[in-house]
């Protein structure tokens, strides 16, 4: 095309240009490298520097980890093997401690021949939560979900089967009163009844009833006391129970804090602020030491149960604030839309407000879950042997005295896997629930 043509106003194209590829520097891996790693001189220098740091760290640790010794009975044996294989000045990990104390790290002092029981409980738990976590799972599994807490309890602690059944019956009674009582005595009385009757039943009737049923049909498994539970099993029991219980409690506290009813509002605010304002470790000491002063003499209130209650309360206070944030983020129009259709308070919460508020709060909720799960390591201070507690016990033995890194790396890795999976699941959930712009 001549210059004259280009500058004239009227112009007709005679040949169409074929489609062309972008220049080499603008496509594929080269483009990516250029844009992400070498976009300017400073970035290029930083990239090279980072590569060097990564190399430096890996070159010092990778060998230590990969050449680690798995098969030894004690640290001294480990060192001997190392001397034979790599020479005295080599630095290699002694993973043998994990292989040697694997059972204890996972199960604590739980009787060895009964290991299948906690494993089965974990499986029951996973099957039971699957209909909550994923949509594609058959809805019928919700029946298992309702029964799972009692099944898991029985599997882990054992004892007579009638204990969990009789306790579960209390919930059935509560449900029945709530469901049918509303028509007979009015909704308010039904709600009060649904709280009070089961509590009275558990306090007064449950014990004798269990004993009676057990004497009629003694079905049961070997009883395992809470003292024998330890290691990751303990962390899982506290973590999972805490997560499951603190979620609904947190929702109720958040709704209570938004309530117009003075007493409910102030009770929730006080609970949240007091629980949240005091370190968890103080609450754990309260659970382990102080509660005994308040409980009637002779009551044997399981330490593990007390710790679970405290951890649950602590997490639910945080949960309540996270969910309150979600509630506050919803436009007022959503509340009004629900009201204008004649939905009552609980219906509008259940159907309109909470699904949206919880969706907004997913990152915060999972954050709290992860925090709670990691905080289970604090129970070591009240004498429960969680993984950290166990690593201390293991290191106190003559066999493994002097070993640090291997145990802590393993414990850290296990916690990381659990927390990272929770994080990944929350991201999956957020993507799935995104309806605004699809």
């Amino acid at each position: 095309m001549s210059d004259v043509h280009a500058q004239t106003v009227s112009y007709v194209r005679e040949t169409m240009l074929p489609e062309a590829e972008p220049p080499v520097t603008e496509r594929g891996a080269i483009k990516w490298l250029r844009e992400n790693l070498f976009s300017s001189w400073l970035n290029a220098i930083l990239t090279i520097l980072s590569l060097f740091v990564i190399y430096y760290v890996l070159s010092h640790t990778l060998g230590w980890m990969l050449y680690g010794i798995w098969d030894a009975g004690s640290l001294t044996e480990c060192r001997q093997i190392r001397n034979e294989l790599y020479g005295e000045d080599a630095s290699v990990a002694c993973w043998a401690v994990l292989a040697d104390r694997w059972d204890q790290l996972l199960f604590g002092f739980y009787p060895q021949d009964l290991y299948w029981r906690p494993v089965a409980a974990l499986l029951v738990f996973f099957v039971a939560v699957s209909p909550i976590l994923f949509e594609g799972v058959p809805r019928k599994l919700f029946y298992l979900t309702a029964a799972a807490p009692f099944i898991c309890f029985w599997l882990i602690w054992g004892g007579t089967i009638w204990g969990p059944i009789v306790v579960a019956l209390g919930f059935v009674i509560a449900g029945a009163i709530f469901r049918y009582g509303a028509e007979m005595v009015g909704p308010l009385l039904a709600i009060i009844g649904a709280f009070l009757v089961p509590i009275l039943y558990w306090l007064l009737l449950a014990g004798p009833l269990t004993g009676m049923l057990n004497s009629i049909a003694p079905i049961g498994m070997q009883y395992v006391s809470s003292d024998e539970i330890g290691g990751f099993m303990l962390a899982f029991i506290i973590g999972i129970t805490g997560i499951i219980l603190s979620f609904p409690l947190g929702i109720l506290l958040a709704l209570g804090r938004q309530s117009d009813l003075f007493i409910i509002n102030k009770t929730c605010v006080t609970f949240i602020e007091v629980i949240r304002g005091v370190p968890l470790i103080v609450w754990l000491f309260t659970a382990s030491l102080l509660l005994n002063y308040f409980l009637p003499p002779g009551t044997n209130f399981d330490l593990l149960l007390r710790v679970i209650i405290m951890v649950t309360f602590f997490a639910s206070a945080y949960m309540a604030e996270v969910i309150r944030g979600g509630l506050a983020a919803l436009p007022r129009g959503q509340y009004e839309g629900a009201d204008s259709l004649g939905l009552n308070y609980w219906q509008s919460m259940q159907l309109i407000i909470l699904p949206q508020a919880l969706k907004i709060s997913i990152p915060g909720i999972v954050n709290t879950f992860i925090g709670l799960f990691k905080d289970t390591t604090l129970v070591v201070f009240v004498g429960l042997s969680d993984p950290i507690g166990f690593s201390n016990l293991i290191r106190a033995t003559t066999d493994w005295n002097g070993i640090y890194w291997e145990l802590f790396i393993f414990i850290g890795l296990c916690f990381f896997i659990c927390c990272f999976s929770m994080s990944k699941y929350s991201q999956f959930l957020e993507r799935k629930l995104r309806t605004e712009h699809r």
Binding site: D339, S340, G342, I352, L433, T435, E436
Partner: protein, 267 residues
């Protein structure tokens, strides 16, 4: 008056055959007062609405017109006087409030659809949970009304995927699914692009033609002129003037009304 030519509803022939006002009282408001804190928003409101009436409420912003219709389904509490809807007295009794709300449909300026539910679920939610209608039946009703507002093909989409006008029509269909006897419209076209106003007004006209009792807070004077049987002008929390549309627009009595009309119709 120039608005008759530019109004979106001007070209439509209105079928008045079913627009009969009955003697039956639908809403009765007596000496109603409302305060926001110390601010006296509504002062001595007296208003009787008969079944089948189409009332347009207009007035400058802050005159209390939205608050008035929000009081009718108890989205706002009133502090003095009485409101009864279809014979049910609005008091602190939550049961009465829920009953009134399920009889009275409300359409908001910002639609207030539920973004986490599909259009169909938005429409079936209240019938299923409040009226205890079986799901199948509720879905049939919902499709009937979605057809009526001319968006049945959007039933499985989410509100976020629809245009403003479509969302507002869904909001109308959602209210209709409860088979209300009265519909309240709170500035239904104020948040819409000009070209979408017509589709929403058309839907409202259609409703009026079927004999629905309606109270609309709106600035669409063309709609008021053609559809309303009564226009109410409010200022400073009081009803200043009310009249039949023809008289109201052509021969306003109060100076405040004249000023208001000249301001909104004058350009």
């Amino acid at each position: 008056m120039t608005d008759a030519q530019t109004s979106p509803v001007a070209d439509r022939k209105i079928d008045r055959s079913k627009m009969a006002v009955s003697d039956e009282v639908a809403i009765e408001i007596r000496d109603m007062n409302k305060w926001f804190g110390n601010f006296h928003v509504l002062r001595d409101i007296n208003l009787t609405v008969n079944q089948g009436e189409r009332i347009v409420v207009c007035g400058p912003s802050g005159s209390g017109k939205s608050t008035l219709i929000r009081c009718i389904n108890a989205l706002e509490e009133h502090q003095k006087g009485t409101i009864s809807v279809d014979g049910t007295l609005l008091s602190n009794d939550l049961k009465n409030i829920d009953r009134v709300r399920s009889e009275v449909g409300m359409v908001f300026q910002h639609f207030n659809l539920f973004p986490h539910l599909t259009i169909l679920e938005n429409c079936t939610l209240a019938p299923i949970w409040v009226r205890k209608t079986p799901k199948r039946e509720a879905e049939e009703t919902a499709m009937y009304f979605l057809n009526k507002v001319k968006i049945p093909e959007q039933a499985d989409k989410y509100p976020g995927q629809l245009s403003g006008g479509q969302q507002q029509r869904v909001a109308i269909a959602r209210s209709l699914c409860m088979r209300p006897r009265i519909m309240l419209f709170d500035e239904p076209t104020s948040a819409l692009d000009p070209e979408m106003i017509k589709e929403v007004l058309d839907t409202m006209i259609q409703l009026a033609e079927e004999g629905m009792t309606m109270i609309c807070v709106t600035h669409e004077m063309g709609f008021a002129r053609q559809v309303a049987n009564r226009v109410i002008f409010m200022d400073q929390g009081q009803i200043v003037e009310q009249n039949e549309p023809e008289e109201f627009f052509n021969n306003p009595k109060s100076d405040r009304t004249k000023l208001f009309l000249s301001q909104i119709l004058g350009h």
